[in-house]
């Protein structure tokens, strides 16, 4: 005899979303770096910041920071990023 089981999984379809197209060049672009507050993050990001300007001609690097790596970015941080209207955001992990 066949058994009938109750599905124990989350049955919702995965939410759909897609990233905007990649920039073809970062020359002259305004780039946001989101520091997730991991130890040593600022050391790594300072270097990325400098490289973006010196080597890739990025016109402006904007720096944002999550209050803690342990939780998702609060809406206030996301709003600040949106207001700055960067051409791209790099969520910058570091440890």
């Amino acid at each position: 005899m066949s058994l009938t089981v109750v599905n124990p999984l989350d049955e919702r379809p995965l939410p759909e979303g897609s990233a905007p197209p990649r920039l073809t060049s970062v020359g002259g672009a305004r780039i946001a770096l989101l520091d997730i507050s991991k130890g040593g993050g600022e050391v790594f990001l300072d270097r990325v910041d400098a490289l973006l300007r010196e080597r890739y001609g990025v016109s402006e690097v904007l720096r944002f920071r999550k209050p803690t790596f342990a939780k998702p970015a609060p809406e206030a941080v996301l709003t600040d990023i949106r207001k700055a209207q960067p051409h791209a955001v790099i969520e910058a992990l570091a440890d």
Binding site: T4, V5, V6, P8, L9, D10, E16
Partner: protein, 522 residues
């Protein structure tokens, strides 16, 4: 959507001959994928002729790729300019239209709905004077209903689309689907292959078992107890029950599991972060109150291991729920570098019967004698052995260096700790007149890291030394390990013989990390 009785606008390609079921779809819509499987089998059952026709809103290449992955070969049309989609008044896909011989709409449906599929398939069969095919059965492994996606012609102009915002607040969820296992299937193997389990065998969550579990909870099956991070899957009573069955729980354990799932998903505990960390942390549940004896929780010997069904299976149910509803499975979201054996199960009862002090839950304002579950996101236990000490201070001095090593030796003011005092140690402390407050006070005052360890080598914890609090411990200048006495919690558990205790360190703490939570229940 075109109303019934209206003559439909032309479809792309050759005019249709005879009654037909048109199905608009797009390739990146999961509900469309579901619908196409059933429509393909309907098309096959009707034989030759364009009676079931898919209308793709996408290019032939991506459409063909999808058809291959579905193993489907129903006749297709391509609505490249999306004029037909607009003309049929689509809002969402999949969108089905049953047309008669003259192209008039007889019936329609949007989204994936087995009842609609069966109704439209049945009407088409009647028009063609063939037997009614039973198309989509409840319990065949697919949901009965799934909302569709917005029709391609109504998508926003932006080249990016935001993912749906997770549902955090609904108190009711859809019912869990029922799945009829193939008669030849081995049920345990089937559950494992379906991704229901951790790597251990599970008890198949049959309808009867889940219903027995639910009856004990006193909840409606669709009642949502919590939304489980990080994916925020709804932990409905029915889903909790199904996972508890799989973990091997008895129905009466639901009185602990339900309030514990609420506690586990309390934002203060930040299970969201714990599930995604590379650290060792896993949620440890500590049970207090009469329920320990009523349900047979291990509080004594082997309290951290495999001594009692209640501890082992309830802890496993928590982990299965986090994995199956929260989505944090190892190798996907859970990328812990070393992991933690507590990710199989991590539940202890306090040995209140031999404790000279009040229960742990009292620290959180819950009256002694009440049932409570307290969560602490913990590293694995670190052992303390002290078989010679006859005085409380000598004994506690054996615990201090273990505490000093939490997180990383030279990192101070970051960790919290739960110190599980073994019964023999508790007796020594009690004989020496030490209250719980005295124990915590001594451990706080006497746990530090010598300043001489900070010699400029740049190791972890050394850069923040300027923020640490200096103190002198036994004549040595030290940095105090803990931020405040409340960073250390003390409880009693373990067996009667053996002068051992255990220390458990935390993950990130405080409002920016994980805070202990304690929930009272009946």
């Amino acid at each position: 959507m075109l109303s019934n009785g209206v003559v439909a606008p032309p479809v792309p390609g050759q005019p249709l001959s005879g009654p037909a079921l048109l199905a608009f779809f797009k390739t990146d819509c999961p509900a469309c994928h579901l619908a196409l499987r059933y429509l393909d089998s309907l098309s096959r059952s009707l034989g030759s002729g364009d009676h079931v026709v898919g209308v793709s809103q996408d290019e032939p290449a991506s459409t063909d790729k999808l058809m291959r992955s579905l193993g489907a070969d129903l006749p297709l049309r391509f609505d490249r300019d999306l004029e037909a989609s607009a003309g049929f008044g689509l809002e969402a896909v999949p969108a089905l239209f049953l047309l008669d011989r003259s192209g008039r709409v007889l019936a329609s449906s949007q989204g994936f709905d087995k009842a609609d599929l069966n109704r439209l398939g049945g009407e088409l069969a009647r028009l063609l004077e063939v037997p009614d095919p039973e198309l989509a059965r409840t319990g065949d492994g697919n949901p009965d209903f799934q909302p569709g996606c917005v029709s391609r012609h109504l998508e926003p102009e932006s080249e990016a689309t935001a993912a749906e915002i997770p549902d955090l607040y609904s108190r009711r969820a859809g019912r869990a689907s029922r799945i009829d296992l193939p008669t030849e299937a081995d049920a345990e193997e089937w559950c494992y292959e379906s991704g229901y389990a951790d790597p251990l065998p599970v008890v198949p969550p049959t309808v009867e078992r889940v219903e027995r579990m639910l009856a004990e909870s006193g909840l409606n099956p669709d009642e949502v107890v919590a939304h489980v991070p990080p994916n925020f899957g709804a932990a409905s009573a029915e889903k909790i029950a199904a996972n508890a069955v799989m973990a091997g729980c008895r129905p009466e354990y639901m009185r602990v599991i339900v309030p514990a799932i609420r506690a586990l998903c309390d934002e203060r505990l930040d299970i969201h972060g714990v599930q995604g960390t590379t650290h060792f942390a896993a949620p440890l549940a500590i049970v207090n109150g009469p329920v320990r004896l009523e349900l047979g929780f291990a509080c004594g010997s082997n309290v951290f291991s495999n001594a009692a069904r209640a501890n082992s299976t309830i802890g496993r149910a928590f982990q299965l729920i986090l994995r199956n509803l929260g989505g944090a499975a190892p190798g996907r979201i859970d990328m812990s570098t070393m992991g933690n054996p507590g990710r199989f199960s991590f539940v202890i009862g306090e040995n209140e019967e031999v404790s000279p002090w009040g229960p742990l839950s009292e620290d959180f304002g819950i009256e002694a004698g009440r049932n409570a579950v307290t969560f602490f996101c913990a590293e694995p236990p670190r052992p303390v052995s002290e078989h010679k000490a006859r005085e409380p201070k000598v004994l506690l001095r054996a615990i201090c260096p273990v505490l000093a090593n939490l997180w990383s030796y030279r990192v101070c003011k970051r960790s919290e700790a739960v110190v599980v005092i073994g019964p023999e140690h508790a007796a020594t402390l009690d004989r020496g007149g030490f209250t719980k407050r005295d124990v915590v006070g001594f451990l706080f005052e006497n746990t530090g890291v010598p300043v001489s360890e900070y010699d400029g080598d740049g190791g972890e914890g050394t850069h923040e030394a300027g923020f640490y609090d200096e103190c002198v411990i036994r004549g040595v200048r030290c940095y105090r390990k803990f931020r405040r006495p409340e960073s250390i919690r003390v409880m009693v558990a373990g067996g009667p013989a053996g002068k051992f205790s255990a220390v458990l360190g935390s993950w990130a703490t405080g409002p920016r990390g994980s805070q202990m939570v304690s929930y009272q229940f009946a």
